[in-house]
């Protein structure tokens, strides 16, 4: 590597790390975020507050309620006397579900008619609502099988035997936390790289660099390598925390993970540099980074599955490096992916990295020299 590139890299690090505040901003907050978000970002339901409106008051009904209260997912917070109360409790979000047991419940149960139970959920958060319904269904199905067994009813003619591959307990932390690795790595890389050229342009130092014998390629390297190193370092710290703090298993080993991270950071560096070379001011660069980052997170499958998106939007996600990174990181954590099976992710990301870096180099030439 030419000496001048090395000098540029050293300078870049000094500019970022010499100031105590910006040093702190790079190291502290991402870790705090990982911890907070790691715990916060989960689709698992715990202690969902619910109310019971038991019009039957039979032993069977109480037994059913006991199944709910016994589950970790639900916490009973109220027992209702009339159906007016349902509305106000749900409206005011004191409960997310109301279990309404019909007066005929135990009678129908005993006579072999389908005993009616109503499950009312707050649909304001549709995802939570569906999950609550699912949990409730499972509990009720459990109960009815138990009831059938003890009362000599025929057992269902066929049983379901559900298995979740790769994540047997369906712990959604295992899904989200590897996602946060990608998310935070992207944020840090884009910001560090995205602002670097714009900042120099604002300060006039970019002109000073342009009159030195440095070639656009030197500048490109000198600007992207620090981003690469910082991004990878940041990613590594977060990976460590994921493994040792959150105890997410790392089945796939480091090699596929790091190859993925490397390509991901490269692609982000390229995109950051493109934004940076288009922006005249730091504000534009930062907001430009945002304009890219927010849709990129949303269209990555981080929280909402890509397969749920309409086809046009799905096609758009092919341009999103985060999409590939998420698959690689998640599978490296939870599976034993073979290199070839991940090739379908590595290749497009490498292509994106190449194209974006080349475009950034071209924009440098065009805008600056």
């Amino acid at each position: 590597m030419p000496r001048r590139v090395l000098a540029l890299i050293i300078k870049e690090f000094l500019a970022i790390l010499r100031d105590a505040k910006s040093r702190m901003v790079l190291i502290g907050p991402p870790l705090i975020q990982l911890v907070v978000f790691g715990y916060a970002a989960s689709f698992d339901l715990n202690h969902v507050p619910f109310a019971v409106y038991d019009q039957d008051r039979s032993v069977a009904a109480q037994d059913l309620v006991a199944h709910f209260t016994g589950s970790r997912a639900f916490t009973e917070v109220a027992s209702l006397k009339s159906d007016h109360e349902i509305k106000s409790l749900i409206n005011s979000r004191q409960v997310e579900m109301v279990l309404v047991i019909d007066p005929r419940f135990s009678r129908d149960l005993l006579t072999g008619k389908a005993a009616p139970v109503q499950v009312i959920v707050d649909g304001r958060n549709s995802n939570t609502a569906l999950l609550i319904l699912g949990y409730a269904n499972t509990i009720i199905a459990d109960y009815s099988q138990q009831w059938a067994a003890t009362h000599g009813l025929p057992s269902p003619p066929a049983q379901l035997d559900p298995r979740a591959l790769f994540n047997p307990n369906l712990d959604s932390h295992w899904f989200i936390i590897p996602g946060i690795v990608a998310l935070l790595t992207q944020v840090v890389t884009l910001l560090v790289v995205g602002l670097s050229v714009a900042r120099e342009r604002e300060a006039g130092t970019f002109d000073q660099i342009l009159v030195t014998p440095m070639r656009p390629l030197d500048i490109l390297l000198g600007k992207s390598i620090p981003g690469l190193i910082i991004g990878l370092a940041e990613g590594s710290v977060i990976v460590l925390a994921t493994v040792f703090w959150f105890q997410v298993p790392l089945h796939g080993g480091l090699a596929p993970l790091y190859l993925g991270l490397l390509l991901f950071v490269l692609a982000n560096t390229g995109i950051g540099l493109m934004i940076s070379s288009l922006a005249a001011t730091q504000q534009q660069a930062l907001l430009g980074a945002f304009l890219f980052m927010v849709p990129s997170i949303i269209l990555s499958g981080f929280a909402t599955p890509i397969s749920n998106m309409p086809v046009i939007v799905q096609n758009l996600t092919w341009l999103n490096p985060m999409r590939y990174a998420l698959v690689i990181i998640r599978r490296s954590f939870l599976e034993h992916p073979s290199f070839t099976s991940l090739l379908a992710q590595y290749l497009p990301m490498a292509a994106l990295a190449l194209v974006s870096l080349a475009a950034a180099g071209w924009l440098f030439r065009k805008r600056a020299v």
Binding site: R4, K11, A15, R18, G204, Q208, V211, P213, R215, V369
Partner: protein
């Protein structure tokens, strides 16, 4: 009416009542790296109302710190500052209501137009709407910005920005006006206008002014001067008191058979000579106290004609500072270095820089309008001109930073915009605006730029040592460069541009904001470089510096108004009112004629 606004007047000691500024044992320290430096060290002074007070001192003397303390932007570590009897620390807002302050780097809103900037400050200073039109008219005339009111401030030239900052500050004459180097980068015509306005405000409305400046001829226009050095007040009084101390020590020296440069070189090497600079066709010499001018003849310059000259403020300044430097046992670099030897003017063949029919348009505004000139190898070529004449634009095109609209330009045998990167290794560029890494220390900047120019190993270390020594940056090596005094920033920028010993130097106002001592050293260095074959293209607004140039052009509104040696330019404007015109006279005459010319068709229509 102003006195009525002093509720505490009764409580004040009688001698300070109404004094615009009272400083009592003011001390302020800063941390530079790990050292604690006293920027101001128990400074005490009281000023009288209705006067222009000059705050003079070398780079890093503490002028800006003092201004900021008075404006309430910083707190003193100890001591008190009172403005018209009000303690700054106790009631900063009240003080800010009585003063106006123009910071050294006036922060204009670059995305607002000239007019919008003026409007904003008129609103902030509470200028009555009916009074605005006339006020704007005066200020725009003074600054020469009347034609550019709709232009974004970010697109003005460096000097135009400075003048706009000044206009924004002056929009409502305050009781006490603080100006921190207001004339840095401002052309001589505008400086005259500025002084006329300040005089008018002071004499007419009794305003008090505290102003720091690097132009020592301006110091002579002040009513009183405070001389700061390394945070201490080393002198105060009328400028004439300072100059009187130099009576009988200044002379003009001419030697028939010697070039003025050779003469200057010989004189400045003589022991007993405080200072020797070129002035017109002669050399101005200042002798140490008690030295007889006879030493010149004794030294062998037998045909030298020595005539006494009136002392100037600058003489005293140099004298005082050199005495200080000697006392501090740091040998002043000036005398330690071999002074400039006789320089063969522009002897080398081959044209290093060729510009022909160069034109640059921004939108429909023509910033550089069909200019042509050539510079020979080893020549010092000056580009002088009014603010906004297009000097920096020309520089930027020559360095390949900006595409020309039309015309051709060559540096060596290249057009730097299209040449290979290595071609830029021959060139050093110092931008008008400070453009090194503010977050990095001095040393880190030097390291970076030396490597960027491809220096390695021992060579690189040697050059960095050279830069630290040569520009006296060593004590500042670990300071964050953003916080350096202006003069030191300029030195550092020059050091970075010289690091790789380039063949061609582009220096855009290298001496703006630099103190006179450092400027002398700077020019010695440039002369030495030119002697060794380096081509130098330089801009400046110090007219005395034009004398150092082998040839120069004067630009106005994008055009070349005149070209030649300083002698030929001066003699071209000799007339009965100016029998012996100075460079400044020549410059002002040319620019004014040009302005009149371009205004004429408008007047006729």
């Amino acid at each position: 009416m102003r006195r009525a606004a002093l509720p505490y007047a009764v409580a004040m000691p009688p001698e300070t009542e109404g004094a615009p500024l009272v400083l009592e044992q003011v001390t302020r320290r800063f941390k530079i790296g790990k050292r604690v430096v006293a920027a101001l060290d128990s400074v005490s002074a009281t000023t009288a109302p209705g006067l222009v007070i000059g705050l003079i001192g070398p780079d890093g003397a503490g002028k800006t710190t003092l201004m900021r303390l008075i404006a309430g932007l910083l707190r003193a570590d100890s001591g008190a500052i009172r403005v018209f009897g009000t303690d700054v620390a106790a009631a900063p807002l009240k003080v800010q209501g009585m003063i106006a302050y123009m910071p050294q780097r006036f922060g204009l809103y670059e995305d607002l137009s000239v007019q919008e900037n003026l409007d904003l400050y008129a609103d902030l200073q509470g200028v009555a709407p009916e009074a605005r039109a006339t006020r704007y008219g005066e200020l725009l005339h003074m600054t020469g910005l009347a034609a550019f009111t709709t232009r974004l401030a970010g697109k003005l030239s460096g000097g135009m920005k400075q003048k706009l900052g000044l206009a924004c500050t002056l929009i409502q004459p305050p009781r006490l006006l603080l100006l921190d180097e207001p004339t840095v980068g401002v052309d001589p015509v505008s400086r005259r206008e500025l002084w006329a306005i300040v005089d008018h405000l002071v004499r007419g409305q009794g305003m008090s002014v505290l102003l720091s400046t690097a132009y020592l001829d301006e110091a002579e226009r002040c009513d009183e001067v405070l001389l700061l050095h390394e945070g201490k007040l080393i002198g105060a009084g009328k400028p004439s008191q300072f100059t009187q101390a130099m009576a009988g020590r200044s002379f003009q020296v001419r030697a028939a058979n010697m070039s003025k440069r050779a003469l200057q070189g010989a004189l400045s090497r003589l022991p007993g000579v405080t200072d020797a600079i070129i002035q017109g066709a002669a050399v101005r010499m200042v002798l140490d106290a008690g030295i007889h001018p006879g030493i010149v003849r004794e030294s062998g310059l037998t045909d030298a004609v020595i005539t006494p000259a009136p002392p100037r403020f600058e003489d005293r300044f140099i004298d005082l500072l050199k005495a200080k430097a000697a006392a501090a046992a740091i040998a002043p670099t000036t005398s330690a270095k071999p002074a400039v030897a006789a320089r063969a003017p522009a002897a080398q063949p081959g044209m290093e820089i060729q510009v022909s029919h160069l034109l640059k348009r921004f939108g429909d505004f023509c910033a550089v309008d069909d200019i042509s000139f050539t510079v020979a190898r080893g020549e010092i070529f000056g580009l002088l001109g009014a603010n906004g004449a297009g000097k920096s634009t020309t520089f930027r095109m020559l360095c390949g930073l900006l595409p020309a609209t039309s015309g051709s330009l060559r540096v060596g045998s290249f057009n730097l915009r299209t040449a290979a990167a290595t071609a830029r290794g021959r060139l050093g560029y110092m931008a008008q605006k400070f453009s090194l890494y503010g977050d990095l220390s001095v040393l880190q900047n030097l390291r970076f730029f030396s490597a960027a120019y491809g220096l390695t190993g021992a060579k690189r270390n040697a050059r960095i040592d050279w830069a630290l020594r040569e520009f006296e940056l060593a004590p500042m090596r670990d300071a964050t460069s953003r916080d350096l005094p202006l003069g030191f920033k300029q030195r550092m920028a020059l050091a970075c541009a010289l690091m790789h010993e380039p063949d061609v130097l582009f220096l855009d106002e290298p001496t703006s904001g630099v103190d006179p001592l450092a400027r002398r050293e700077f020019w010695q260095r440039i002369n030495a470089l030119a002697d060794s074959g380096v081509t130098v293209l330089v801009t400046t607004h110090f007219m005395d510096e034009a004398e150092y140039c082998d040839r120069l052009v004067i630009m106005g509104q994008g055009k070349v108004l005149a070209e030649g040696t300083s002698e030929s330019l001066k003699s071209a404007c000799r007339d009965e009112t100016h029998p012996d015109p100075s460079m400044e006279d020549a410059f002002v005459a040319l620019i004014e004629a040009d302005t009149a010319r371009s205004a004429a068709p408008v007047g006729a229509a």
